[in-house]
Symmetry: C2
């Protein structure tokens, strides 16, 4: 039922909690996990304005950093017996996650979501909320 | 992992779709389903104003109608080998669902959610969205 799962991560504690949950899905027959991290250039732009010394970050550096952060996740999943595919995308996170949902033909998405929204989330909606709203397949929401 | 599930229904087509999903959870070890329907008196008030001839509906009638609509759901679940508990609550739906989540000590909630929100939902947030936001346990969202 949950054979192939999409697991989006932003490397937050909440994403890590969702990963622990994904690993437990082995018990109920999950075989393959598509891990996706989306590099959100809008955030990086804001960040760069605040911390001008980071302004020189190149696309290549960003991708390398993302790949480096994804490696232990990939290994943890493989150690637990899953087949793993890792995707690094660039763009608006919820759109790239929804694109992967379709292109990878997954059965369900496992995503972490906070209960209490902060001001930004209240105005814009969190990535998780947008994914939940627009997903075509079931979404398993892990609470923070 | 999904031994005891909470399944809220408003008897909509979408709730019915979620029920089909709940039944499939048997494959992955779900044993018990707590079915809840919440009688929302706010909606009934609006409805009564629109259709004044219904104004005389009593609380007893409402509960009986809900029970009658829940019976085939209960039977379908039992026929599929689940233990079933049926709750009819009165109040604000998302609050009663969240109360059941805690009191019944369930492992996850399975709920249907529409993708495209209508105007009312955009203003108020759908029941599903509020449940997803405020739930303590994982929520499996089935898309309409």
């Amino acid at each position: 039922m949950f054979k192939k799962i999409l697991y989006p991560t932003d490397f937050s504690e909440l994403s890590d909690k969702a990963l622990k949950y994904v690993i437990r899905l082995k018990e109920i027959g999950t075989e393959e996990v598509v891990v996706i991290h989306v590099i959100d250039k809008r955030t990086i732009k804001v960040f760069s304005k605040l911390y001008w010394q980071e302004f020189s970050i190149t696309d290549k550096t960003l991708k390398e950093k993302a790949q480096a952060a994804l490696t232990p996740i990939e290994e943890e999943l493989k150690d637990n017996g899953f087949r793993v595919k890792v995707l690094v995308a660039e763009g608006i996170p919820f759109r790239e996650i929804l694109r992967a949902e379709v292109e990878e033909d997954i059965i369900a998405t496992v995503i972490g979501a906070h209960g209490a929204s902060n001001v930004e989330e209240m105005l814009l909606g969190s990535v998780a909320e947008k994914v939940i709203r627009k997903a075509q397949k079931p979404v398993l929401v892990i609470k923070g």
